[in-house]
């Protein structure tokens, strides 16, 4: 089994008890999805149009936690998508948005029960969401860089 299918049903979860609200997950997520891949300084110093963080951090002190796409088995966003851009990969189970086809109608935002799809107006109006860092061997930047291990990736039951 290759790495991708091994991760087929993986989800990222948060431990709110130890989330420290530092938002490093967002910072690393931005860099991971920028053209400079993991180079924070270049990502933030050179790019004026940076990707949105694909993790939502909710905070109401003292509670905070990060929340990402659950890559649902029955993805509401995919079923609601009017263009067919949002799709679930049958092999990896990852729900991704084909930004070539997304027209920014926001029906996925209306449908996602976790509220983890964002409007990205950077270049073309598109919906932005977590892709489990599938291009980085399924080692999500947010999980890897959480200083307090408040995020973890786990195969769902």
């Amino acid at each position: 089994m290759n790495n991708l299918s091994a991760a087929a049903k993986k989800r990222i979860y948060a431990k709110e008890e130890v989330c420290i609200g530092c938002r490093l997950c967002e910072i690393y997520c931005i860099a991971a999805h920028s053209q400079y891949r993991d180079n924070l300084i270049k990502t933030f110093k050179k790019l004026t149009k940076r990707p949105l963080p694909r993790i939502v951090v909710e905070e109401e002190k003292p509670v905070s936690f990060g929340l990402q796409c659950r890559h649902c088995d029955e993805p509401e966003c995919v079923k609601a998508c009017i263009t067919g851009a949002m799709h679930k990969d049958t092999e990896t189970g990852i729900v991704t948005n084909d930004i070539e086809r997304c027209i920014g109608c926001w029906t996925c935002i209306l449908a996602c029960p976790y509220g983890v799809i964002k409007r990205d107006y950077q270049n073309k109006k598109i919906a932005s969401k977590c892709d489990l860092c599938m291009e980085s061997n399924m080692e999500p930047a947010c999980v890897k860089n959480c200083p307090n291990e408040a995020l973890y990736i786990k195969a769902s039951s």
């Binding site: 130890v18 490093l24 910072i27 924070l40 300084i41 200083p147 408040a150």
Partner: protein, 500 residues
């Protein structure tokens, strides 16, 4: 007063080429040093608030931050040092006593660093701990005068013993002085490593009762959280008479830290100050102490060893003799470098004696009186590494307590601001925003790592001395030699000088 003579102690240096304005520093500093200036799109720092705890430095993802000591100097003066002047400014501005946290940081001699260990050469072969068994197991408690053995087994029932996999325990630190998460981490690590942690005088939180087998429950002058269930919950009971950082001084947990969980655990009303009196009001003599020791033994059916913890002070040997005779199973002696969550600066820095001397004096005295077997000695206060432990045991300790070392292992940066309650590392704080920064699982893992590392090192040192059990090192002062010590100091330590 609008104008302060106090200049910033530290300077926050930000490398603008690396700063990406992620504002992690802004979110992480409980002292509100960092601020984001939206108009300028840059992060600015108020140096005067910085305590040099390195939280921002450690979390800055681009390593853009450095904290330096403010190079601003007063005119050189061997008497009126910078700290001497600053302390006067502070008191002139506040009118209050100076508070501090952690252990004595003054440049008194560290006697551990004036003792050297022996190693076997030729005549007495050294032992390789990777190839041969090496025993670090330690039993704390009263030992009988004579061991009668029948059919290979000890005939009489031994008094209750506290079993440690290695001769290291975590010092008494109360829930209140440290966060719940820190308590939990210590409990988890003690449980995993087969050693003890100590509740301090803060009672035992209900969620930590499951670690009872690895818990020493403390009874201090405030008697917080003490009832029969508490006494029975632990593996041993410790009566706290004194603490190395502040001998002769009680404790004071301000009411604002006494929130629901602490209130319940300490059995005091929410918001009330938790004041531990300087003395136990029922102990004015060795006889009184004996009464308390036996009350506690009675309450726990003589199943648990009772320890008495005192600060190392001038008459420590005689005091310990009395404590042993009062029926204690263990005596814990806390040297003047022992840590604290809060102590008056003058007390911390000027009261008490070095643990090395106290330990040697007590061990010597108890031997001379023929009662050394009646108690185990636990040495506390500034133990920094495995070599300190080996030296302590050679000087006569049965085991050591580590407090500050344990906290450093889980993130403490020794900024000595525990008393402010704003510990950015989630250790010495009750602020829920800060407490959660200490992930008990990570902290426990780090503590266990530290103990593992020290275990290996202790075995190496023992093996080098040709010793294969920690028991054989106990009080074996021939394994120590002094360096740079006066003959009087060597006498008190009971060791020869290097070369002798």
């Amino acid at each position: 007063m609008s104008f302060s003579l106090l200049t910033p102690e530290f300077i926050v240096e930000r490398n603008d080429e690396r700063c990406i304005r992620c504002q992690v520093c802004v979110r992480q500093c409980a002292n509100l040093v960092h601020m984001y200036d939206q108009e300028e799109d840059r992060i600015v720092a108020d140096d005067s608030k910085c305590v040099n705890c390195h939280r921002c430095v450690a979390l800055c993802p681009t390593r853009a931050l450095t904290i330096r000591r403010n190079p601003l100097e007063f005119k050189e003066n061997a008497n009126w040092t910078t700290s001497a002047i600053r302390e006067i400014y502070k008191q002139a501005e506040t009118g209050g006593i100076l508070l501090t946290g952690m252990g004595n940081d003054r440049p008194y001699p560290v006697y551990w660093d004036h003792m050297l260990l022996n190693a076997s050469q030729v005549t007495n072969p050294s032992i390789d701990p990777l190839r041969e068994p090496m025993e670090l197991k330690t039993m704390l408690g009263r030992k009988p005068e004579v061991l009668n053995v029948e059919d290979g087994k000890v005939k009489e029932k031994l008094p209750p013993q506290l079993k440690l996999e290695i001769p290291v325990m975590f010092s008494a630190m109360s829930f209140g002085s440290i966060s719940f998460n820190t308590c939990q981490a210590l409990a988890m690590a003690a449980s995993e490593a087969g050693v003890m942690y100590n509740t301090g005088e803060g009672g035992l939180h209900k969620d930590l009762r499951k670690y009872g087998k690895n818990t020493i429950v403390q009874v201090a002058s405030g008697r917080f959280g003490v009832d029969v269930d508490y006494l029975q919950a632990g593996a041993a009971i410790e009566i706290k008479i004194g603490q190395g950082a502040k001998p002769g001084i009680g404790g004071h947990l301000p009411g604002e830290k006494v929130m629901a969980e602490i209130s319940q655990t300490r059995m005091i009303p929410i918001g009330s100050d938790a004041i531990s009196p300087a003395p136990h009001h029922d102990i004015y003599s060795i006889e009184d102490l004996r009464q308390l020791i036996y009350s506690l033994k009675e309450a726990t059916d003589y199943q648990k060893p009772v320890s008495v913890k005192i600060a190392a002070v001038h008459n420590v040997a005689a005091i310990c003799s009395g404590i042993a005779r009062a029926g204690a199973d263990i005596i814990a002696i806390d040297g003047f470098r022992g840590g604290t969550g809060a102590a008056p600066l003058r007390i911390r820095d000027n009261v008490g004696i070095p643990i090395e001397f106290a330990l040697a004096a007590v061990d010597t005295r108890l031997r001379e009186e023929g009662i050394r077997n009646q108690v185990s000695l636990v040495c506390a206060g500034g133990i920094r590494n495995s070599a300190d432990i080996i030296k302590a045991i050679a000087l006569g300790a049965d085991a050591v307590y580590i407090g500050q070392a344990a906290l450093i292992a889980i993130g403490c940066h020794m900024c000595q601001k525990c008393y402010t309650g704003k510990c950015n590392w989630g250790i010495a704080t009750q602020d829920p925003n800060l407490v959660k920064r200490l992930n008990p699982e990570i902290a426990a893992r780090r503590l266990i790592n530290l103990l593992h590392a020290w275990t290996h090192e202790m075995k190496e040192m023992l093996g080098g001395m040709g010793i294969n059990a920690i028991e054989s090192l106990k009080g074996n002062r021939l394994m120590l030699r002094g360096i740079g010590l006066t003959s009087r100091e060597l006498d008190i330590l009971g060791i020869k000088a290097a070369g002798e």
